[in-house]
């Protein structure tokens, strides 16, 4: 009778399946984990392969680099909550400061590596549709009626915070250093933002794949990459009169590397970013290398000289800017009302 058969099926389901799970024992192999932000996917895919080869050549050991990508703020939150990152390579210093505050690395982490711990820099540019149908030339055009601006959410995305501050810097300079005017300007700009994705990559796909909006406020590297992915004939880059020097920093998470026994590999990983391989791959993937002389000249040639403000000189450093603009009740909370 079927009764017995059904009981057997059920018994088999209940008892056989957990056995499968037992087979998945992790194979023991050296590995380090890099928790990174959103647009670095292509860069670290290439760089990790280079590092794995390099490490094998130097030590004879096989190592695997594990990566995770997402909005910079979200990634920092995960590391604070216990994501076992050996190194973090995030979009801005404030996010690593937050991890330091949780006691996972010393507060002066940014002094441990050259150039504010940023092996490459970038900036914020405008990406518009081919032929620039809305005639966007500078920040002023973004607050006009009928122009839709795409940017991720400054609460979760590092790139979005650079976008926000670049717009702020422009408006402040134009109004003779008046912060109240700058706030009004940025408020107007965000009225033109129809959707806030949580990370830079989400915004790029919103703009490029889903074809929403007229202007994408983007990392320079994201803008270049969209040419490569979607074709040169679809978009144009517009350089605003002022932008911001974005320094995405890298750091070792001391508490985790000591527990994992991976300090040596993690240090070698970050050092290689400053070396020829790292600098070459950074430039190839559209990041501005700190030592352009180490990268390929034709890659470096693509970067245009721009008037760039800096976070330290113009906003008093991330520790100050983060709370003032993006903390609870900061200027972003004051100006942004979802429509």
């Amino acid at each position: 009778m079927n009764r017995r058969r059904a009981s057997r099926i059920i018994a088999a389901l209940a008892f056989a399946t957990p056995l499968l799970a037992g087979v998945t024992g992790a194979c023991a192999q050296g590995k380090i984990t890099n928790v990174s932000y959103d647009p670095t996917r292509e860069l670290y895919k290439e760089f990790n392969a280079a590092f794995e080869k390099n490490w094998k050549a130097e030590t004879g050991e096989t190592i695997k680099v594990q990566v995770s990508h997402g909005g910079s703020g979200k990634q920092a939150r995960s590391v604070i909550d216990g994501l076992n990152a050996d190194v973090v390579t995030l979009a801005l210093a404030a996010d690593i400061d937050a991890i330091a505050k949780a006691g996972k690395l010393p507060a002066d982490w940014q002094k441990r590596l050259p150039h504010n711990s940023s092996p490459y820099t970038s900036t914020i540019v405008f990406l518009v549709r081919k032929g620039n149908p809305k005639g966007v030339k500078d920040w002023d055009d973004l607050v006009k009626d009928g122009v839709q601006v795409i940017t991720p959410n400054p609460k979760t995305s590092g790139g979005a915070r650079w976008n926000y501050l670049a717009a702020w810097a422009y408006a402040r300079e134009k109004n003779g250093g008046d912060d109240a005017k700058a706030k009004e300007f940025v408020g107007k700009l965000f009225k033109n933002v129809p959707v806030l994705d949580s990370g830079a990559r989400g915004s790029t796909t919103t703009f490029a794949q889903r074809e929403l909006g007229d202007v994408l406020l983007a990392w320079e590297n994201e803008a270049f990459l969209s040419f490569k992915e979607f074709g040169e004939d679809k978009f144009e880059i517009v350089y605003p009169s002022i932008s911001i020097l974005a320094e995405p920093p890298v750091a070792i998470i001391d508490q985790n590397v000591d527990k994992n026994g991976t300090r040596k590999a993690a240090e070698a990983y970050l050092n290689l970013l400053y070396d020829k391989e790292g600098q070459t791959l950074a430039a190839k993937n559209f990041y501005r290398p700190i030592k352009p002389e180490l990268a390929n000249a034709e890659d470096v040639k693509r970067f245009k000289d721009l008037k760039l403000v800096t976070i330290d000189k113009d906003f008093g450093g991330w520790a100050k800017a983060q709370g003032e603009h993006f903390g609870d009740g900061g200027t972003f909370d004051q100006i942004y009302k979802p429509q």
Partner: protein, 299 residues
């Protein structure tokens, strides 16, 4: 069906004075066609079209590109991880579901309605919230965080967290299928078994369980489909480590954001295929064993 047939046949049987039965459908033919067309168009537009779109996108660059998508070790590991998570979560939920529904349907005790509400909780709580709960409990800053760190145990951002979140989200599926059926069946057969000298376990194994077997299989199917397709809760506890803690739905998002649209839709088509298979088996079960699956399984 049979009722309609007799109604339709009745007038033609009449000889001289046909009995005028009021038509159960009062609308004019045009209105009926318009309403049916509207319903079909709606279904086609909102259900069928998106499903077709997944497969069209997946095969956009040809069959070869489709299958190449599955050469990626990260994708393979995502598929394997999903199978492992479901293989742990589903059997556990079968045990929990059986135990809970047996207790609720066959026994009277205080706090029964509270237990029922608890079982329904995962249906009413957003999966993201349930994921967050586990971060708050087991995260480094959470209630058990320091203790776990001291003993070098990793719950969230690892397999245990994924399994916990999946169990939570899929918890009601088996119990919700079984409780109405068991209540409907009553306790008389069990009482008969007991009076004939069978023990508690024997009664359960030979009487209760066979009576609900098809409903149980039905619940397992739904539970499994959800376990493999869950996004929100696992997204919160995953940490998104490539090739390590990404399940199929998370891998689809990653591939999509990597500008790898063909691969994203190819992997999505696996999930969609799983859904279709589930649906087919489910319909088969309903058709064959409808009376034994419980009259109250309308989700």
């Amino acid at each position: 069906m049979p009722a309609d047939a007799t109604l339709a046949a009745a007038p033609s049987l009449g000889t001289s004075a046909p009995i005028q039965l009021p038509s159960p459908i009062a609308e004019s033919r045009g209105a009926r066609i318009a309403l049916i067309a509207l319903a079909v168009a709606f279904l086609g537009f909102f259900l069928l079209l998106p499903l077709v779109a997944v497969f069209v996108e997946a095969f956009r660059k040809g069959v070869e590109a489709y299958f190449e998508s599955f050469d990626d070790p990260d994708t393979l590991s995502a598929i394997w991880l999903t199978v492992v998570v479901a293989a742990i979560a589903v059997p556990l939920n079968v045990v929990f579901g059986l135990a809970a529904s047996w207790a609720i349907a066959k026994f009277e005790f205080k706090g029964k309605s509270f237990l029922l509400s608890l079982i329904d909780l995962p249906f009413s709580v957003s999966p993201v919230v349930s994921g967050m709960c586990y971060v708050l409990l087991f995260g480094a800053q959470g209630v058990f965080g320091p203790w776990l760190a001291k003993h070098d145990l990793q719950i969230i951002f690892a397999l245990p967290g994924l399994v916990l979140a999946t169990i939570f989200v899929t918890f009601p599926f088996v119990a919700r299928e079984l409780i109405p059926l068991m209540q409907e069946q009553g306790t008389s057969e069990e009482e008969a078994a007991l009076s004939l000298g069978a023990g508690g376990f024997r009664t359960f194994w030979s009487v209760t369980l066979p009576n609900v077997r098809w409903a149980l299989l039905y619940g397992v199917l739904l539970c499994n489909a959800r376990a493999m397709g869950e996004f929100g809760a696992v997204s919160v506890v995953s940490g998104h480590l490539r090739g390590l803690t990404n399940t199929i739905p998370l891998q689809v998002e990653i591939l999509y954001n990597d500008y790898n649209f063909v691969a994203a839709f190819a992997v999505a088509s696996v999930l969609a295929g799983l859904g279709l298979v589930t649906l087919a088996i489910k319909s088969g079960l309903e058709w064959r064993y409808g009376d034994q699956i419980s009259s109250a399984h309308r989700h």
